[in-house]
């Protein structure tokens, strides 16, 4: 990776920055936790954490905010990674919160549980007294995220105040907070979707199989290909077809669409990502289409 001119490749520079962020948090916080959805960004984030502390284990647990609407391949992947790495897994369950009446589900035909993740996430942060919460958000994903700090302060209500963010200079991070407040930490801030895929290839990061092309029964809704019969159900006028698809992002299965793709290997995926003209969230996420500031509003409320 290093040439005699003492130059780093851009991926090596990004990795170095991320390791620095992980170690800073481990050194300054009492109870960090890493949010692990089983998606590719959280997979890379976990890989970087493993590398930051090797040969010692990661000095904090991971947490899955489980909407209950999962792709079985992703849960299988999550459990396999947890077993292989020996990390501790906490689960914040949206279903449990619904069952106990903590939150109410929208009585829709295919209810979208994206928004419903906020309360179980904040409850878990309070319950475990987590003071630093690693998230895999990247600034290239979305307009509001482009303004987010690496160390992003959250008040006791878990809220983000985008107009009053702490200045963040050089690589000096200020994680100080009062009891009950916490810091969201984004080690992948400066990575792009393309960087993530190149890193998955170079560092051989394992990811769920549904990121690669496979056959699936899908139907078209709001311009997205949704999996038929899993958590989303076609209405009468929606036609189910068997198609070769893959997922570019993984979220709550009710609002995550597949893209038509024959990219079956990491090399194919990289070619596809580098050639695409549509952002990953634009292509596959219904949750960002609600309004011009959909992400900003959810983030203010404590979303990832």
């Amino acid at each position: 990776m290093t040439a005699p001119t003492y130059q780093l490749t851009h991926l090596a520079a990004l990795e170095a920055e991320s390791l620095h962020i992980f170690r800073e948090v481990a050194a300054e916080f009492e109870r960090p936790v890493l949010l692990f959805s089983g998606g590719k960004d959280s997979a890379v984030m976990l890989w970087l954490a493993l590398r930051a502390f090797a040969p010692a284990p990661i000095p904090f647990p991971v947490m899955h905010v489980d909407t209950g609407h999962n792709f079985p391949e992703v849960i299988e992947y999550r459990d396999r990674i947890v077993a292989e790495t020996g990390i501790r897994l906490e689960v914040a369950s949206v279903q449990a919160a619904i069952d106990t009446g903590r939150i109410t589900e929208n009585p829709d035909i295919d209810p979208n549980r994206n928004q419903l993740q906020i309360i179980p996430l904040l409850d878990a942060i309070t319950e475990h007294r987590f003071d630093a919460v690693f998230g895999g958000a990247r600034r290239d994903e979305e307009r509001a995220r482009a303004k987010e700090r690496v160390f992003s302060f959250r008040d006791e209500f878990g809220q983000w105040d985008p107009k009053n963010q702490r200045p963040e200079l050089w690589s000096i991070y200020n994680g100080r907070h009062h009891r009950g407040e916490h810091i969201r930490v984004f080690p992948l801030s400066n990575w792009t979707e393309s960087d993530i895929w190149h890193y998955i290839r170079d560092a051989e990061v394992p990811i769920p199989s549904i990121y690669y092309a496979h056959e699936r029964d899908v139907f078209l809704r709001d311009g997205m290909l949704l999996a038929a019969g899993l958590w989303t159900h076609p209405r009468e006028d929606e036609v189910v077809e068997r198609r070769t698809v893959r997922y570019r992002t993984i979220g709550d299965a009710t609002c995550t669409g597949a893209v038509a793709s024959s990219a079956a290997t990491i090399a194919d995926v990289i070619d596809e990502v580098d050639a695409t003209r549509i952002t990953e969230r634009g292509a596959t996420r219904a949750d960002d289409r609600a309004s011009e500031a959909a992400m900003e509003d959810r983030k203010r409320d404590g979303y990832f």
């Binding site: 990776m1 290093t2 001119t5 003492y6 130059q7 780093l8 490749t9 851009h10 090596a12 520079a13 990004l14 990795e15 170095a16 920055e17 390791l19 620095h20 170690r23 800073e24 050194a27 590398r51 502390f53 090797a54 040969p55 010692a56 284990p57 600034r139 290239d140 979305e142 307009r143 509001a144 995220r145 482009a146 303004k147 985008p162 107009k163 963010q165 702490r166 200045p167 963040e168 200079l169 050089w170 690589s171 000096i172 200020n174 100080r176 907070h177 400066n190 792009t192 393309s194 960087d195 560092a203 695409t276 003209r277 549509i278 952002t279 634009g282 292509a283 011009e292 500031a293 900003e296």
Partner: protein, 417 residues
């Protein structure tokens, strides 16, 4: 492919958003859905053409008010380089954001409108970029189409800015005449300005030599985290993790650890990709030493003959980033330098710098939001400091307000010890 971090400074009037939009669009970094979104919103607001500023103005308040409030980060790449662009608002009330964007930049892009030439704000942007020691500055003379692509006008601006820059300590200064609206000299050389023989802006960004900007001489390794696995397999493993801040560390080198002054030899350098023989900035590595000596977070590893200054008194230029509290002599703050926190007291506020004229205003009582001034700080704990001009990592610090935990100041060490 390497990584170049650049910061842009300028106001909407200079065509900054159009320039950035052009760079992103022409390097194919704007996606169709983002463009469609911008077109939709522009149409809803009754604008004639797509307002590319909407691409960078991410927050609701920014879009409502048509201004940029905060630093926005943008990413684009060419086959030669990956770019991280910190887009900062140019107005004086956002000096703190400009300073933030410039703190990590390899290159600063300063925009002027060819019709208006060098203004007060142009000088301010250049001054701040120089203060933060951004090694490369590019003055983009924009809207050349509105001055008939006049070479004479371009030369006037170049000479005027050059004369001003001579008073600053600018590393590398370039001038490029462009029209962001028409794409002249942005990605490729323009036919409308045949008299201009330099590179296009994007070509310059791809080619500018940044490798020699780093300090490869003075070894500085702030210890960030101690790795001790405590399992049977790695019973004796004791590694010091950190990001190299300067110099080249090699296996076999004799090093000294501050503050203890103990010496040892580097026995291993571990990286995520396995062991290496040498480490240099900005690599994040784990150093192991041949001897079992006491090393902890906040210590600094350097060469015995080349050390930073261990000091509890710091002379610095501070950019104040808070409305309340204001910085005053006698004020108490927390200071973070590398991986060390210390209590700090302002011993003396020497002068405030007028960021427009660079005049020193002596006798001021306080620094308010966006003020820049020269101070002397007294620290409860020693830090291991270099002048900022020699090392951006060991020469910088932040100040934090103990009551709110907010970051209220950014400091550049002018004189340690």
């Amino acid at each position: 492919m390497d990584l170049l971090r650049l910061a842009t400074a300028g106001s909407v009037d200079d065509g900054k958003s159009t320039l950035i939009g052009r760079l992103l669009y022409d390097s194919k970094s704007i996606f169709e859905d983002q463009l469609t979104h911008v077109e939709d919103v522009s149409r809803r607001r009754g604008l004639g053409q797509a307002d590319l500023a909407l691409l960078t103005d991410g927050l609701r308040a920014e879009r409502e008010q048509g201004i940029t409030i905060d630093v926005a980060y943008r990413y684009f790449s060419t086959p030669r380089r990956r770019f991280v662009l910190a887009d900062t608002p140019g107005h004086p009330q956002y000096t703190r954001n400009m300073v933030t964007g410039a703190s990590t930049a390899n290159l600063a892009l300063v925009l002027v409108d060819a019709r208006n030439g060098v203004l007060e704000q142009t000088r301010r942007h250049a001054f701040l970029a120089t203060l933060l020691r951004v090694p490369h500055i590019v003055l983009c003379v924009n809207k050349m189409d509105l001055v008939d692509h006049s070479q004479e006008r371009f030369n006037e601006i170049r000479d005027e800015f050059g004369a001003f820059a001579a008073k600053l300590d600018v590393g590398d200064l370039s001038f490029i005449p462009v029209s962001a609206l028409n794409g002249d000299n942005i990605v490729s050389r323009s036919m409308s300005m045949p008299w201009y023989e330099g590179p296009s802006l994007l070509h310059h960004l791809e080619e500018v030599h940044i490798a020699s900007d780093r300090n490869l001489v003075d070894v500085r390794f702030p210890v960030q985290y101690v790795i001790r696995p405590r399992d049977d397999k790695h019973h004796d493993y004791r590694g010091y993790a950190g990001q190299v801040a300067g110099g080249v560390l090699a296996v076999g080198d004799t090093v000294e650890v501050l503050p203890s002054g103990m010496q040892s030899t580097i026995s291993h350098i571990d990286t995520p990709e396995g062991p290496v023989d040498e480490a240099f900035a900005p690599m994040s590595v784990v150093i192991r030493l041949a001897d079992n000596i006491d090393v902890s977070r906040g210590d600094l590893i350097c060469r015995p003959q080349n050390q930073p200054v261990m000091t509890q008194t710091v002379e610095a230029v501070v950019c104040w980033m808070s409305g309340t509290p204001r910085l005053q002599a006698g004020g108490r703050y927390l200071l973070k330098h590398t991986h060390r926190w210390s209590k700090a007291i302002v011993r003396d506020l020497k002068y405030r710098i007028d960021v427009n004229t660079m005049h020193r205003e002596e006798g001021v009582q306080a620094l308010g939001l966006n003020d820049i001034g020269r101070v002397t700080l007294r620290l409860a704990q020693p830090i291991f400091a270099d002048e900022y001009r020699r090392n951006r990592t060991t020469g910088s610090f932040i100040l934090v307000d103990e009551a709110t935990n907010n970051t209220v100041g950014a400091g550049i060490i002018t004189n340690a010890g």
